[in-house]
């Protein structure tokens, strides 16, 4: 298990990448190198400037840029907490608890299909990078409502071949990711993050194809470190387990859907 830290970061760069999503780049406020983080892990972000936000907000690790020592977070404005977070000016201090959770299977080898939907594409960028660096062939399948909602496509292209599905057909193939032609190819492992209905559809498809599949859950959580037992998922083997600790990534064989 990776060591956890509570640490101040400085917001060094901020960019809106889709109508709903902002990319935040954070560097350790007191310098020093970033903690070791695994693809699929997440951080708990403190939201200082919002009257109505009490708890931290869990945000998955989008990318770890060892060149400029920054942690990337792709943040979707979902409520007052995340809005207040992306409204931080560059230079602001943001407190994080990190890294949290288990992460995706990043063992090299085989053909990988990484499927992301909406802001769910976030953790797949770092995963793809780590896999590609280890010589594993990576195919990304990115889904969104329309072309404008696709985040960081140019970044994904650096680490693998990119397939795209949009519901309105404005880019890539029209329809849901599960309807994309690449789903007919064979893969050794599918790793997926996105809206629940999409992940369930992907899980169904993976079972049909007999392809192993991991999904990243985002159950509502308070602590993020396995103490409050609020974010539980009912598993086939362990009953209610903490998504923040035994997850957020689960092999679909452990899930009851």
């Amino acid at each position: 298990m990776t060591k956890k830290y509570i640490q101040d970061f400085t917001l060094v760069d901020k960019r809106q990448v889709t109508p709903a999503c902002h990319l935040l780049k954070l560097a350790p406020a007191r310098g020093g190198s970033l903690p070791t983080m695994l693809p699929g892990q997440f951080v708990q972000v403190e939201v200082a400037g919002s009257k109505t936000t009490f708890l931290r907000r869990p945000i998955s690790v989008n990318f770890v840029d060892s060149c400029d020592n920054t942690l990337w977070l792709l943040v979707r404005c979902a409520g007052e907490g995340t809005v207040s977070l992306v409204n931080n000016p560059v230079g602001a201090t943001v407190n994080l608890v990190l890294p949290l959770g288990n992460g995706f299977d990043a063992t090299p080898g085989g053909r990988r299909l990484l499927i992301g939907g909406g802001v769910g594409v976030a953790p797949l960028l770092y995963l793809g990078k780590v896999l590609r660096d280890a010589g594993t062939s990576v195919t990304f399948l990115l889904g969104a409502r329309s072309a404008a909602d696709l985040a960081l496509v140019e970044e994904f292209e650096k680490y693998g071949s990119v397939c795209i599905s949009t519901e309105d057909g404005s880019r890539g193939e029209r329809g849901f990711v599960t309807m994309h032609s690449v789903m007919n190819e064979s893969f050794d492992l599918i790793q997926c993050c996105g809206p629940m209905p999409m992940m369930k559809a992907v899980a169904r498809k993976a079972r049909e194809m007999g392809t192993p599949c991991e999904v990243s859950l985002e159950n509502l959580m308070a602590c993020g470190i396995g103490a409050c037992l609020c974010c539980v998922e009912d598993t086939t083997d362990g009953g209610n387990v903490c998504v923040c600790k035994e997850g957020p990534v689960f092999n679909i064989d452990r899930l009851k859907w």
Binding site: L55, V97, L220, A222, I225, C228, L229, C230
Partner: protein, 303 residues
């Protein structure tokens, strides 16, 4: 040199800072953030006779300056605790207190009898105030008779320090406190969470699978401080205060109201290192205000 130590009955604590049951896991989850040996003690999560799966998801919703939870005492049961968890945590240089829950009186007794032989379990906290279980729990904590029945039975079976955790969901908490004092409690702790609920107005469905849950956080601190003040005036046994303590100032507020020790709960979710900071704050506060012992703060409010 200030003395931070306080006593809960026979139990000496190196300082007044404890962690609230269900908010600090078994301590291990926080070892990356705080030196456990720095704490007065930690109260491990609600333990029952048998394994409990707890309530279905969703179990949590954020509220103004607080949160509702409906975990429902999920735990692997007392035997699992004794076999697998106790050995891992018993050597921590701090006090281990086990929070005990049950559906009926004999459950409480059975769990406490199993815990009694464990050298490093310094005390039990009897939870008669969990709002998230169908049987038992809060039912015992909202009447004097119910509270007495559990307290008296456990007292017979458990020789070490027994703290009884009171429910705030009552008309007169002092009356309940007097009842458990009279039946053998060495201390009372309050408050447990407040019964609350929230509705998602867009789906028109309750936010929790159980509809109602327990409200915690700074939102309810003013009510908890008032109850601690009332109870501290009503009983002679030590009072352990909790309810929305977010920082050292809040901890001092509870002690001034009459608490001998305090518990940090929900704040652990927001700053997992907060308990250590609270110990430091209390020490600094005592210095700034010219006290030489934490015991001088207990009930020191000048009305």
């Amino acid at each position: 040199m200030v003395d931070l130590s306080v006593k809960i009955g026979e139990l000496e604590l190196k300082n007044p800072v404890l962690t609230a049951s269900g908010t600090f896991g078994y301590g291990e989850e926080f070892s990356d953030f705080v030196d456990l040996s720095k704490l007065g003690g930690f109260i491990v999560k609600g333990t029952t006779l048998n394994h409990r799966e707890g309530n279905p998801y969703p179990r949590m919703v954020e509220t103004p300056s607080g949160m509702l939870n409906a975990v429902g005492l999920q735990n692997k049961g007392v035997d699992y605790f004794i076999e697998h968890i106790y050995p891992r945590i018993k050597d921590v240089d701090s006090r281990i207190i086990v929070n005990v829950s049950g559906a009926q009186v004999p459950d409480y007794v059975a769990v406490c009898e199993k815990l009694a032989p464990l050298d490093k379990v310094a005390a039990v906290e009897i939870n008669i105030s969990c709002p998230n279980v169908k049987q038992g729990g809060m039912a015992f904590g909202t009447t004097c008779a119910g509270a007495e029945s559990v307290t008296a039975a456990v007292r017979k079976a458990y020789p070490k320090t027994m703290i009884v955790k009171l429910s705030p969901n009552v008309t007169d908490v002092a009356e309940i406190a007097r009842a458990v004092e009279a039946t053998g409690a060495d201390a009372v702790s309050l408050t447990n969470t407040f019964l609350g609920m929230a509705i998602n107005t867009e789906t028109r469905r309750p936010c929790l699978s159980t509809i109602t849950g327990g409200l915690s956080g700074p939102c309810i601190r003013p009510i908890a401080v008032r109850m601690v003040w009332q109870v501290a005036k009503a009983v002679k046994v030590p009072v352990v205060g909790l309810g929305g303590i977010m920082n050292g100032r809040d901890a001092v507020e509870f002690m001034l109201a009459g608490a001998t020790a305090i518990q940090v709960g929900t704040a652990n979710f927001i700053d997992p290192s907060v308990t250590g900071k609270i110990v430091d704050y209390i020490e600094d506060y005592l210095r700034r205000h010219g006290f030489n012992s934490a015991t001088q703060l207990i009930g020191a409010m000048e009305a």
